[in-house]
């Protein structure tokens, strides 16, 4: 029984992830084909209009691939505001930029900040998102409105979120006033050592709806029989959630975890607008450090090296993500396992 059940749960979670993507397509789109259904046999090999790939391909080569290689090349040059104009003939210094980035720059501190801030934000958003999804799963009056409201933080552009929180967190601003009425004095939000927690808090506010969305798509996969069975067994709500419903969420939530981490680590706009540059040392996350090194200190070569190192860092969750995605048979980037 237990193996059977767990197997079913796994399958359901998979199809949940795949359906989440599939609903991007039309809700009315028929054919609920599972991830394992054999479908790719009919791919045509004759008369292929491959030229249609050219416009997008050319764009991506010029604006993504070439700059990527250029960035790697620049990371080996001694580039500053004087040599940038003729960057081709800038002095070649090999790996010196990388050595400097690793040893005498705040890079390692930034890596630590980026990773810990992303993880902390993720750890809080997960339960928030799950709670929201579980609470809005069943129909009640006004559910559509609540669901729309829950999406607002995610819908708002990052620069708007940051501008608004920046205003609310000013010294003696609304947040300080509100906390003051209950006798809490936190101190400065936008300067000094607490800025790290400010960043985490605002990121949590902005990104829990994403977890909510993916958790919701996982809940759709819970079959009706499962509800019936646990009702017959008289399962308490907590046990039902813990042992029956949550296993369905594992797939979508691991996906959400990976993508969310990538988003957080790559998030430039939020810290940039929230704190401005130069940012306080406690929020100098990787994107900010790279940006400041380029456009404030004009150490372009060093910045390129930092960017390259952060790409390596990104590559870890990215690799896991790409491995987990079925490119073809599944309808979507669902977790494969």
């Amino acid at each position: 029984m237990s193996t059977d059940a767990s197997n079913e749960v796994r399958l359901a979670a998979e199809s949940a992830a795949s359906r989440a993507a599939h609903s991007a397509a039309d809700a009315s789109s028929q054919e609920p084909s599972g991830p394992s259904s054999p479908r790719r046999k009919g791919l045509s090999e004759r008369n292929r209009p491959l030229w249609m790939l050219i416009p997008g391909g050319v764009l991506m080569i010029i604006i993504i691939v070439v700059p990527l290689l250029l960035g790697i090349f620049m990371s080996t040059l001694n580039l500053d505001q004087y040599t940038l104009r003729k960057w081709v003939s800038a002095p070649f210094i090999g790996v010196e930029n990388f050595v400097e980035a690793m040893t005498s720059s705040p890079l390692l501190h930034s890596v630590w900040l980026s990773v810990s801030y992303s993880l902390l934000a993720m750890v809080v958003t997960l339960p928030l998102g799950i709670a929201a999804a579980v609470a809005t799963q069943n129909a009640f009056k006004g559910r559509a409105v609540i669901r729309s409201i829950f999406l607002i933080p995610y819908v708002l552009p990052s620069f708007v979120v940051a501008t608004v929180w920046r205003t609310m967190l000013q010294p003696d601003g609304i947040v300080d006033k509100a906390l003051g009425t209950v006798g809490i004095d936190v101190g400065l939000w936008l300067n000094g050592p607490q800025t790290f927690w400010t960043l985490v808090l605002v990121q949590i506010w902005a990104s829990w709806p994403f977890i909510y969305l993916l958790a919701l798509s996982g809940l759709q996969a819970v079959d009706h029989e499962v509800h019936e069975a646990s009702a017959l067994d008289g399962a308490l709500w907590w046990n039902k959630l813990r042992y029956v419903v949550f296993p369905y969420l594992k797939g979508p939530l691991s996906l959400a975890f990976l993508i969310g981490m990538l988003h957080h680590i790559n998030n430039f706009t939020l810290p940039f607008v929230l704190f401005g540059v130069p940012a306080p040392a406690d929020v100098e996350v990787l994107p900010i450090l790279t940006y400041v090194t380029s456009f404030q200190s004009f150490r372009f070569g060093l910045s390129a090296a930092m960017a390259f190192i952060s790409l390596v860092l990104i590559a870890i969750p990215l690799f896991v993500y790409l491995r987990a995605v079925k490119l073809d048979d599944a309808e979507s980037p669902g977790a494969k396992k």
Binding site: L53, L59, N138, I152
Partner: protein
């Protein structure tokens, strides 16, 4: 067992229980009522209080906002008339609409044809391209901004084409960075379309282009809208590239607001009211787009997990 009354549902259907059936409701219940109410109230307040505050602060006086008033002591809509010139929102919004709008249209068009080839034809490197589409969505912008900047400034040095500081540079950049996700959205969408129609059209002698224009396009407009909107949002929300590659006259709304906010530091009381009014105006188009296309967009979000 009384399964006769229970509806057996295939995995493809939605989660909504049979309306009007109390028993169904009890069976499907996940949380006890009080807890559910607490969660909804807490999360609702978490979202709505800041949102309400933006409205209230935008009609408040700057001193009122600085003193931490929630409810304004004086109402005034002046801020909404000032921001067009003081923040530069008139130029900013015009540029944002132009650049993001053009990005949306072109990216949607390109992504349909690209996805069509990727989904319906087999060729060497197809899987690599699919994988690349996913990978490219996660390339950090901070990694790209400097090389792209250098590339564009080289274009003016060596080719005599001025790209930096124009809307063209932004447009091309956003278009390229929007393409991977837009294409992925279309790939997932086109996979859901039945192939039979295309086959029938081919038997009737339609060319590849004919199939694309006469069959695919009319059938896939919801997907096209979604991929276009995501491309639009990418351009609308970007601060990084726009802050490096624009001049005052080609600034987007995002950069205009960011610069206005940053310039308020120090000295007198910042123009909080105008900042909030401008923030609201910048957010409005995005929120409206979401509300209109919510049904499709939510699916698109979970498909690629990109904002």
């Amino acid at each position: 067992m009384s399964t006769s009354t229970a509806t057996r549902r295939s995995p493809g259907t939605t989660d909504i229980p049979r309306p009007g059936s109390k028993r169904q409701h009890e069976v499907l219940r996940l949380l006890p009522g009080p807890l559910l109410t607490i969660i909804l109230l807490f999360l609702g307040a978490l979202v709505l209080i800041p949102v309400l505050y933006i409205f209230l602060a935008s009609v408040n006086s700057d001193i009122g906002v600085a003193n931490g008033e929630f409810w304004p002591s004086s109402f005034s809509l002046d801020n909404y008339s000032k921001i067009w010139t003081s923040v530069g929102l008139a130029t900013g919004l015009a540029n944002s609409v132009l650049v993001a709008g053009a990005t949306a249209v072109v990216s949607a068009a390109l992504s349909v044809s690209t996805a069509f080839v990727l989904v319906r034809y087999s060729f060497r490197g197809r899987l690599t391209i699919l994988r690349g589409l996913l990978a490219l969505q996660s390339v950090p912008g901070t990694l790209m901004v400097l090389p792209v900047f250098v590339l564009f400034s080289s274009a003016s040095t060596y080719l005599g084409i001025q790209v930096i500081g124009t809307q063209w540079g932004l447009f091309v950049t956003y278009l390229t960075f929007a393409m991977p996700f837009s294409t992925w959205v279309m790939v997932t969408y086109l996979r859901g379309l039945p192939k039979e129609l295309e086959e029938a059209a081919k038997i009737d002698g339609a060319s590849n282009l004919g199939v694309l224009f006469k069959i695919i396009l009319p059938l896939s407009w919801p997907g096209i809208v979604v991929s276009g909107i995501f491309a639009f949002l990418l351009g609308w929300n970007d601060v990084l590239f726009a802050s490096v590659m624009t001049r005052p006259e080609s600034q987007t709304a995002a950069v205009a607001l960011q610069i206005f906010g940053a310039s308020q530091e120090g000295g007198a009381i910042p123009f909080y009211g105008q900042m909030m009014a401008a923030a609201l105006v910048c957010a409005a188009p995005v929120v409206i787009l979401y509300l209109i296309f919510q049904r499709y967009l939510v699916g698109g979000l979970t498909a690629g997990g990109v904002k």
